[in-house]
Subunit: 152 residues, 4 copies
Amino acid sequence: MEDQTQQEQVSPTVRKRVQDSFDSQGLMAHLGARLTHIGPGRVHIVLPARPEVTQQHGYVHAGATSAVADSAGGYAALTLVSEDSDILTVEYKINLLAPAAGDYLEAIGTVLKSGRTLTVCQLEVYGGRGGGERKLVANGQQTLIRVDRPAQ
Amino acid sequence: MEDQTQQEQVSPTVRKRVQDSFDSQGLMAHLGARLTHIGPGRVHIVLPARPEVTQQHGYVHAGATSAVADSAGGYAALTLVSEDSDILTVEYKINLLAPAAGDYLEAIGTVLKSGRTLTVCQLEVYGGRGGGERKLVANGQQTLIRVDRPAQ
Amino acid sequence: MEDQTQQEQVSPTVRKRVQDSFDSQGLMAHLGARLTHIGPGRVHIVLPARPEVTQQHGYVHAGATSAVADSAGGYAALTLVSEDSDILTVEYKINLLAPAAGDYLEAIGTVLKSGRTLTVCQLEVYGGRGGGERKLVANGQQTLIRVDRPAQ
Amino acid sequence: MEDQTQQEQVSPTVRKRVQDSFDSQGLMAHLGARLTHIGPGRVHIVLPARPEVTQQHGYVHAGATSAVADSAGGYAALTLVSEDSDILTVEYKINLLAPAAGDYLEAIGTVLKSGRTLTVCQLEVYGGRGGGERKLVANGQQTLIRVDRPAQ
């Protein structure tokens, strides 16, 4: 089921909308994060581990872990709203379950409920290694609000 | 009362411990954040607004806002534990109350309860401008755990 | 300042609206809770300790503590919206800081931010004794949404 | 998978420990809640809808929803710790996704991570009807701490 979900793709229009927004987030580029999957209601972001994103023990900082989790949830929500809408984070809560070790983090945002005004997402962050093992390092829950996109 | 609290200072030993740990967080340097106050149970961190920390509308990204809030709470907790202890974030929840606009963000972590094992902090983030006005842009609550510091 | 805030009262219309809604909550009556202060953006609810609200150690159950905290925040939000609006809880997070001991709990909901659609409240719960001492036993943060009140 | 998990049972000793603790919670009896499944790391609690647990619109109150969710998570954690340990809720966050309508609520607590000191649980609450349909009405995340059980 997991694999099937990951195959599901959004339309080229939605994909472009999400990618363009992601590319305009200075923080994501500065952290070195990249979008790796854009499905309907589900987005993956990968963050390579490097000294620029660490805390005092050399693991990925909870703030960087949260940043990619927050963006993954936000873009998961964005895939399900109309083109004239934008999505803002209202709040989120995240548990850091284990040291964020590994070669990279993979944050997965999944829409639990998409309402007219509010969206609720589940956030998961895995620490992965080249060899393929991965471990859940953070788990969270996020509330987002749909707002009208300002006319360009 | 606020001003008085801000005057209260920790011992030079505690100050050095907090500053050294902060300096070893690659993410804080990479974001451009700096420690501006270290009081007993209360730490301030300032993050200048610049393109490297923005989201898609040019405001500071919720992830960067959270990163400095999380660190401010973590160091506030660290000021109150013994020298052989370290502090890890268990979880936090943060509400983004307003667009994180301004010339800089100031994150304030304040210990609400310091227990033997767990510490609970309040997190506040203000958006400030050169002229001195500031506005609450995020508010959160954080749980941290004391762990034994590994022998060096 | 605390005392002054507690003196501030809402209009009789708002007071009646809040009290009527509270009185229609079966759970509040069943728990034995009562409204003790209705100020603009700030509501207090008192819950007497008795066997019907305990957990396994005889302290007030986290669920009862949360129930009065949630209602206090909800009614604090309700004092600030127009008469044709109702308020629903979107989510909340609560830390149980200490055993909820004492003769009664006092839950205080305070509006941190009142927006057009969303309200964010701080939640505090104190354990009190007849003699007057009280202790913070829980602290939380809550997001609420304004909805149109169904026509009667 | 769901069904298989639900078949898994804990040992009679653990079952008795969980049931005894539940039976000593005055609030659960007062609300009319009952334990319906005790598996390793997974506990279900059912709360019949009745006027004593409602909010102002006649749905189950967020406080009652949270109370059974909190207990379900706490007992799920309790199934995985040694006999001389007890479990206390540190904090939880819950999103109310839909009106808690139906004939009963079913709260499910599932351990996500069981550590030496802390346990993290996922909380789900479904609204169910006699006919068998059910709907997710609340979703949360909870942190718990293991404490030594007081000698009897």
